[in-house]
Amino acid sequence: MQLFCFFIGQQEIGIPIDYVIETSCLESFTLLPNAPKYILGLVNLRGDIVPIINLSKFFKLTWDNSISKILFINKDSILFGIIISKLSKPVVVDKDDINEYPRNINQSIREYFSGIVHVHGRNIQVLDLGKLINSIKNRDS
């Protein structure tokens, strides 16, 4: 399988490339009133209104505020965007190469990641999009 890789802060995160629609530069977005802190705002992607999620706020990660790009994702016809610090090279991995996420660290983040991959000296944390969407839905409700 092929992973699309990017950085949020210092963390390199990868997602299966099949869910990715495209990347683009963050140019302008609309702020939402009374929205949760991790919702940055709304963006118009060729006619579709897409919410944008700030994962660093969601995961409570360190963030150097260097927002440059938006990654648009479509998972089970739920369209949303996440802001990323930096783009990275996509990698091709087998499913077997994905190791389990270490158990002893950071239980709250651990449940959103399916595993971790070591490729060419890079530690890529593989994000589980289904769990992410579910938790967001749960939180909203």
Binding site: F4, V20, I21, E22, T23, S24, C25, L87, P90
Partner: protein, 583 residues
């Protein structure tokens, strides 16, 4: 006591007129004499005026009394004539007696008035009043007779009428008697008239005598007055002459005395003047004083000349001795002069050497001046070049600034390139996403997208490198610009120091120029010295010649001094002629 006496004497002196005459000034004396003459003339003229007044008074009585009287007399005689005519009319008329008689009476009254005027004019003389009374009396008688005659005429006419008309012959004798009576009365009236006229004539004659007497008196008075006036004028002229003679003698006498003194002086005797003879206050007194001073002066001069002629004699003897000494001195002088001429020759040679040295230094200074001028020119050139360097360095600084700007622009461009690379990378990722979606068919496209991503990565890296390079270049440019600014400052300092050195060189050249001119002046002066030394040589030779002449001259002066001695003796003889009068 003496003072009192002298005071009294002074008072007496003031009373004495001759004392006043003595102390008076000459001008005042002349004025006094003139005033005397004028007073005399005044006295004479006053006297004449007095006498003329008296004569005029006498003659004026003639005009006021005698002339009207004579006129009156002639009027009376005329009146008498008129009376006579009136009487004749009475006699000749036959009817108008009364009218004729009235005229006659009027004429008579007029005569009486004239006669009364006589009385007024000659009131004081008794004889004439008597005569006038006589005339009055005669006139009354005349009138009475005429009245009688009138009545007689009237009676006669009545009688004639009676005789002619009534033919009363008895009246004829009365008529004849009447006629006779008329004739008698006529003669009587004529007689009265004659008496009256005679009395009047007598008055006239008397009066003429009186006038003659008066005129004679006036003539006598005039004669007397003329003789008196002659005497008075003579006396006054005499007084004037005497006074003027006294006054002028008082002027002339001292002058004669002074002339006597002057004669003495001209004779060679210096007089001693007695000042008390002269009046010290007038001009002649001052002249005498001055003359005495002059005589004293001459006396001193003559005594001085006598003394000094003696001294001259001695001096002449001394000069003879001196001239002998001079002749020996001049011989020594000529020897010394030969030595000096030799020394002057040596001096002129040394001056020649000096002039040669001066010439060489003159050349040297000329060269120095040339080189200084050249140095000056080169310094000005250097200054100009430094200025050029300054402008060039300023230009280079400006160029560097432009370079810095350019590098900044390049930096911007590299930023743009890096963003382009970023976007290209993103595009490559999107392409990779598309290729993944396409599955196996998109594998080739995935390769292309991978290549594109690599290209983008490389371009991003090279852009970063360019950025780093440009940063380095900018740093270099900044350091070079600082250096360039420093070099501009240094160039300015160099300009200043070059200007200082240029000014110093100018000062050197001007000073060298002055030295050059000074040397020129010295050259001229040394040439003049050469000529002067030659002239000194000539002069020394001339002095030698003149010293010989002096030697000759001293001999001649010796002979002249001897002749001078003779002249001094003569002078003494001449001065002896003047003697000084002993007091």
């Amino acid at each position: 006591m003496t003072k009192k006496k002298s005071g009294i004497m002074n008072a007496l002196q003031y009373l004495n007129p001759f004392y006043h005459l003595k102390i008076m000034k000459v001008r005042n004396k002349i004025i006094l004499s003139f005033t005397f003459i004028i007073i005399c003339i005044l006295i004479v003229s006053l006297f004449n005026i007095l006498m003329a007044n008296i004569v005029r008074k006498n003659t004026s009585s003639i005009f006021f009394v005698e002339l009207p009287v004579s006129k009156l007399a002639s009027d009376c005689s005329k009146q008498l004539f008129k009376i006579r005519i009136a009487m004749m009319e009475i006699l000749s008329s036959k009817n108008e007696f009364d009218k004729a008689f009235a005229q006659f009476n009027a004429e008579n009254d007029r005569l009486m008035r004239n006669v009364e005027e006589f009385n007024v004019l000659l009131g004081k003389e008794d004889v004439k009043t008597l005569q006038i009374q006589n005339i009055k009396m005669y006139n009354d008688q005349f009138r009475a007779t005429v009245l009688k005659l009138l009545f007689a005429f009237k009676d006669r006419i009545e009688l004639e009428d009676q005789l002619n008309n009534e033919k009363k012959e008895d009246v004829r004798p009365i008529y004849l008697a009447k006629l006779q009576n008329i004739e008698i009365l006529k003669t009587e009236a004529n007689n009265k008239y004659d008496l009256m006229s005679r009395a009047l004539d007598k008055i006239e004659i008397d009066y003429q005598d009186h006038v003659k007497k008066k005129i004679n008196g006036i003539e006598l008075l005039q004669n007397k007055f003329s003789s008196i006036s002659i005497v008075v004028t003579l006396i006054s002229i005499l007084i004037g002459l005497v006074m003027s003679v006294i006054i002028f003698s008082s002027i002339i006498n001292p002058l004669q005395k002074i002339s006597l003194y002057v004669k003495k002086l001209s004779g060679g005797l210096i007089p001693i003047i007695d000042i008390s003879e002269f009046n010290a206050k007038d001009e002649i007194g001052t002249l005498a004083m001055d003359f005495q001073n002059m005589c004293d002066g001459i006396k001193f001069i003559v005594t001085d000349i006598k003394e000094s002629s003696k001294h001259i004699n001695i001096a002449v003897k001394n000069s003879i001795a001196n001239s002998e000494q001079i002749s020996t001195g001049t011989c020594n002088q000529s020897k010394y002069l030969e030595e000096t001429s030799y020394m002057v020759m040596e001096l002129s040679k040394s001056i020649d050497n000096i002039s040669k040295f001066i010439n060489s230094s003159y050349e040297l200074s000329k060269n120095t001046l040339d080189s200084a001028q050249r140095g000056n020119e080169s310094v000005t050139g250097t200054i100009q070049e430094i200025y050029d360097i300054k402008t060039i360095s300023q230009l280079s600084v400006a160029g560097l600034e432009r370079l810095a700007e350019g590098s900044k622009k390049i930096n911007n461009i590299t930023e743009i390139i890096s963003t382009i690379a970023d976007q290209t990378n993103m595009l490559a990722l999107n392409a990779a996403i598309e290729a993944a979606r396409a599955g196996d068919q998109g594998k080739g496209f995935a390769v292309v997208s991978d290549q594109v991503a690599k290209l983008a990565d490389r371009s991003a890296r090279s852009a970063k490198e360019i950025e780093e390079l440009i940063e380095n270049i900018q740093k270099e440019i900044d350091s070079i610009m600082k250096i360039g600014e420093k070099s501009v400052l240094k160039v300015e300092e160099g300009v200043r120091s070059a200007e200082v050195s240029g000014n110093a060189l100018k000062l050197i050249s001007t000073n060298v120029d002055k030295v050059y001119k000074n040397i020129e002046d010295i050259n001229i002066v040394s040439e003049q010295q050469v000529t002067l030394s030659k002239k000194i040589n000539e002069a020394v030779q001339n002095i030698a010649a003149t010293s010989e002449e002096t030697a000759a001259g001293s001999e001649s002066s010796y002979t002249q001094a001897q002749s001078l001695g003779v002249i001094a003796d003569k002078l003494q003889d001449i001065v002896k002629q003047f003697e000084i009068e002993n007091a």
